[in-house]
Amino acid sequence: MAKKKEKLIPAEYIPDVGSHVLTIDKVKYLIANDAMYTFYQRSKGELSPFFLGLRDDKKIFGCKCPKCGLVRCPPFLTHCPDCDFAPTRIVEVGQVGVMLSTPPITYFANSLFLKMAPYGRGRVVLEGADTALSVNVYTTTGILAPGIIKKGTKVKVIFRDDRSGEISDIFCVPVSELTKAQVAKKGLLSSQINWEAAVEPTLKKATAAEQEIYKKALKEIKAVIRLMNETERARKDIMGWKREIQVKTTGGEFAIIINNGDISLAEKKLTKPDFIMVAKSPKTLADGLAYRGAITDSVIMKRLWISKNMEFTTIFKLDRMARSVARSKK
């Protein structure tokens, strides 16, 4: 069950030893790279049954007060403060619940959660519980946009395949996106649901005028990508990153290949793209790459569809490259 061997702090987060001097109004100031870090062997203590339940048994536990009957999930206490500290007992709760309120969506996360964005985090009241459990919420239909999950939306707990006994072992998706059997199944795994179910928007056949627009946009995209490839700062943005992206727009389709610092455009159909981008107007992508508005905003505003939520990270990188090119021009 334990995760693959990995470091608590991934190497890419750790800066080198170093310092520099900053001069402000002819006065020098010394600035040093620094970190404050502490490692733990931290016990989950009385919370262990809950976290072991997640990790080993794919069960969710709450605790019930025998006096007031309140079932708290998560079971963050052992005695009920509302009933003069009557001892509570551990009870299993359901794996389907309703959202207590509309969950927020984080588009711009801190460095620790970049790979996860955009993500929703909300509170689910599971069947059999009275209180709400904080969970991440996702949709299987692509980017989580406002309106998909709201107050009262029925959601199902999904267990990650790779679990370590942490709250992040689980997340929720709307029940409406699952089959009856999946909803009924206890301990449903992430690998048991269809993440590719995102419905790709269909594009109409281009008119002659739209063909012209496509040609023009493609020409610009090619030029920008060439420029990105020639710009050291933009190349750094995709160091260590590899993606093959199929881009479909009205008028035609092409591929963008990102390969560890290189970016290129190929007018071909990929056999196994990492993900697909669909934009009704080819200008959407051209504008974004040319730094006329963020591509991330286009995704949020649904001008640009991407087939995998997780690939928001790649979109961020493309935005950053556009900014790097613009900055290098100055």
Partner: protein
């Protein structure tokens, strides 16, 4: 019978996105130097110090105040620290008031300082993602940190829950207008981080979503700086006031409340900020305010997010809950309206130097009461996850 306590000195340092020129030592001393100058007293006349510092990780040390005690001249005297998230500053005023009211001391220095943007994310080569990460360690360590909790998404939970109940309130046009209005107010605050950053409502509307439903120009910005007050019990306050020629601004009401950090039945009521409601009404009661809409002239409210400013105003009973947009739609907070809200520009434009923020708000409220010859102001701090903590004080000018 407890003693009356008043503010007899106030000062702030410039609030800046980054102070490369100064450490938090110097920022703290700078505010102290200025505040004793404002009160025309010597630091030797100050009996006690109450430190307002939020986050040890920002200052890169635990008990960050220990190094300040000697360098601000308080050696061998009382010093304690308050740390209650975004409500740190307001809670610190409340703590200092209690000691003075009880007769323990004649004078107190309330000193807030924060140095947050030394935090730096080497991946994006910018401070903000690391500042947000550092604040993220404030989330519940068992049940929330690993879910990507941020201060913004936890306040967004409350705001969206409010909008579930009142879908017609907190209209984007209104939040945009409030942000734009605050950006106009900040023009006269020469200590503000964004003194020259005026925006139109349209620009606010067009700014990108950071955490749904918050847009970039509806969120407070992280700042480095310090702020300080001198508080004194009645007799001492009168003597200081006589010497400075500045009127005393009395602290006549205080209220504090912390909600549950978990939500659901018998716990946090998500669509409400009960802490704001309880604390403000406790403070009204203490200062004898029966009708806040009539009594309150100036509001210095901790606007972490514009939407929360609106909800907080409704919890204060200064605008109806469910129609907080009346603040703009009916002109309640527009120039010439019923209240002057965040004349300093709020934390969205002045900047949020967490521990110092509410003290800066008190500094502004005191200045405005004296300058405009108004009677009553309310100063507010909100903090922790899902707007859990509130501290409020009522300031009155006689």
């Amino acid at each position: 019978m407890s003693k009356r306590v008043g503010i007899v000195g106030a000062a702030v340092t410039p609030f800046k996105a980054k102070w490369n020129e100064k450490t938090y030592y110097e920022l703290a001393q700078m505010a102290t130097r200025e505040v004793v100058k404002d009160a025309k007293i010597s630091i030797k006349d100050v009996d006690s110090v109450f430190y307002a510092i939020y986050n040890d990780i920002f200052e890169r040390t635990c008990i960050p105040e220990h190094a300040l005690h000697g360098l601000i001249g308080m050696q061998n005297k009382f010093g304690t620290r308050v740390s209650t998230g975004g409500a740190t500053g307001a809670y610190t005023i409340s703590a200092a008031h209690a000691y003075l009211a009880a007769g323990r001391f004649k004078t107190a220095l309330v000193l807030g300082v924060e140095k947050c943007t030394d935090c730096f994310d080497f991946m994006s080569m910018s401070a903000t993602p690391e500042v947000i990460k550092s604040i993220g360690w404030s989330a519940d360590s068992f049940f929330e940190q690993r879910l990507g909790w941020t201060a913004a998404d936890s306040y967004a939970e409350v705001v969206l829950a409010y909008m579930d109940e009142h879908p017609k309130d907190l209209k984007p046009e209104v939040t945009a207008k409030i942000s734009s209005l605050l950006s106009q107010y900040v023009k006269t605050n020469k200590f503000a981080q964004r003194q020259h950053d005026q925006v139109t409502p349209q620009e606010v509307m067009n700014s990108r979503l950071v955490v749904y439903p918050f847009k970039e120009l509806e969120i407070c910005v992280y700042t480095e700086g310090a702020a300080a007050l001198i508080l004194a019990e009645e007799e001492t306050a009168k003597a200081i006031s006589k010497n400075t020629g500045k009127p005393i601004v009395w602290i006549t009401g205080l209220g504090e409340a912390n909600e549950h950090s978990f939500a659901g039945k018998n716990q946090k009521v998500m669509p409400r900020i009960m802490s704001d409601y309880i604390a403000s009404h406790q403070a009204y009661k203490m200062s004898g305010i029966k009708n806040p809409r009539k009594s309150i002239d100036i509001v210095e409210l901790h606007d972490a997010f514009v939407h929360q400013l609106e909800i907080t105003m409704s919890e204060f009973d200064l605008v109806p809950r469910g129609n907080a947009d009346a603040l703009i739609d009916e002109g309640l907070m527009l120039p010439g309206g019923e209240y002057l809200v965040n004349p300093c520009g709020g934390l969205i434009y002045s900047g949020h130097a967490v521990g110092a923020s509410n003290i800066m708000s008190a500094w502004s409220a005191r200045n405005e009461l004296i300058k405009r010859k108004k009677k009553t102001a309310i100063v507010h701090g909100t903090g922790s996850t899902i707007a859990q903590y509130t501290a409020v004080c009522i300031l009155e000018h006689d």
